[in-house]
Symmetry: C2
Subunit: 243 residues, 2 copies
Amino acid sequence: MAKIYVVGLGPGAYDDMTIRAVNALNACDTIVGYSVYVDLIKDHFTGKNYLTTSMKKEVDRCRLCFEEAEKGHTTAMICSGDAGVYGMAGLMYEIGEEHPDVELEIIPGVTAALSGGAVLGAPLGHDFAVISLSDLLTAWETIEARLKAAADGDLCVAIYNPSSKKRHDYLQKACDILMTGKKPETICGLVRNIGREGEAFEVMTLGELRNTEVDMFTTVFVGNQATKVVRGHMVTPRGYRDV
Amino acid sequence: MAKIYVVGLGPGAYDDMTIRAVNALNACDTIVGYSVYVDLIKDHFTGKNYLTTSMKKEVDRCRLCFEEAEKGHTTAMICSGDAGVYGMAGLMYEIGEEHPDVELEIIPGVTAALSGGAVLGAPLGHDFAVISLSDLLTAWETIEARLKAAADGDLCVAIYNPSSKKRHDYLQKACDILMTGKKPETICGLVRNIGREGEAFEVMTLGELRNTEVDMFTTVFVGNQATKVVRGHMVTPRGYRDV
């Protein structure tokens, strides 16, 4: 049976891939992905047929996978971070309804909430939400409602896509909504270029985060009321010391 | 400088570890962890000094790491899933305040939201929350407030620790709270024994989930209003097909 692996690469470095992801890519003859992700891995997996499409061509990219698989090629669709979290796994299932003869295997990867969290310390040590500020595919009102919910529930938050050229003030707006339920003193942090050249982190308060400029290669973390700075890092305790 | 790696192992199988996690464990002479996690890896990393403590001895386990590191042993603390998400990274930073001479490196891993998600399909393809139902360290009122927030924000939810001997009706209670904001028809799923022998998944509605018995080796997924069943799997679309 024809097979497609939908593979989460993790943050970008080869070492952050799982062994299962490496084995799957080694087993493939065709690897399909957004060109930026192909560039991350092509030196590690040579002799493969790489096929790329540009951003915003996600449906075409998925169809290309199924076409390749139906030609008899063992094929991988690669995603940065995890295969499912804002990744291609869902769309591959949807497009796959037209291709019931092709088997899908989803291989998870380390999403930015985890890889960035490891750089910052332990910002997501207790219950948390993952929310993207990109309104390309989601109404801004929906994003606002989710931020408000996270604030009301005192959830930690990992914020994906906090900024872009067209959305330079979205993080500021998000912080204002979060501050309807969280104090301006809430400990926050951000990680730039996770797992890539120029990786750097900063710890700050929610009030300071509101006035911080970030780019699209940044992941932002907002604490809960117990989050604190420990050894210069952002730590949300689970409460083991209080038992 | 003495060094401790805090390593997320992923769901349990060797292949689900990242290369960075494998390299770190290979570089260590001492590996500290809860005995169940040590059993998962000890055949793959031989010639190591394994030190275990029982459950609920997390503070002791962390202190043991720092003692070993200060004796000159390169040491790893192992966690299942991710090192930070309900893992030991935060507590290691806290205990580490007494040991500023010991360096900490956190190595992230594939948490159950991602590994279970990959088995189910793509349940977390859009904004989501991760919430643990364990009230060992967290007041039940806090857990309730977070479930309510996730329901109000139409967030997908990955539920950790959905049950235990003492908490056999917690998932039922959680579903009742989620149904204050989500419809009983909301698509949900669960995965048992992720990455281990007996791995199995089921897709059902939130109403059905309420009346389903689960054990502590199960991770539960609750969809948002767009979540659907595709090819027998649970898929939360991000919306690529609607552009």
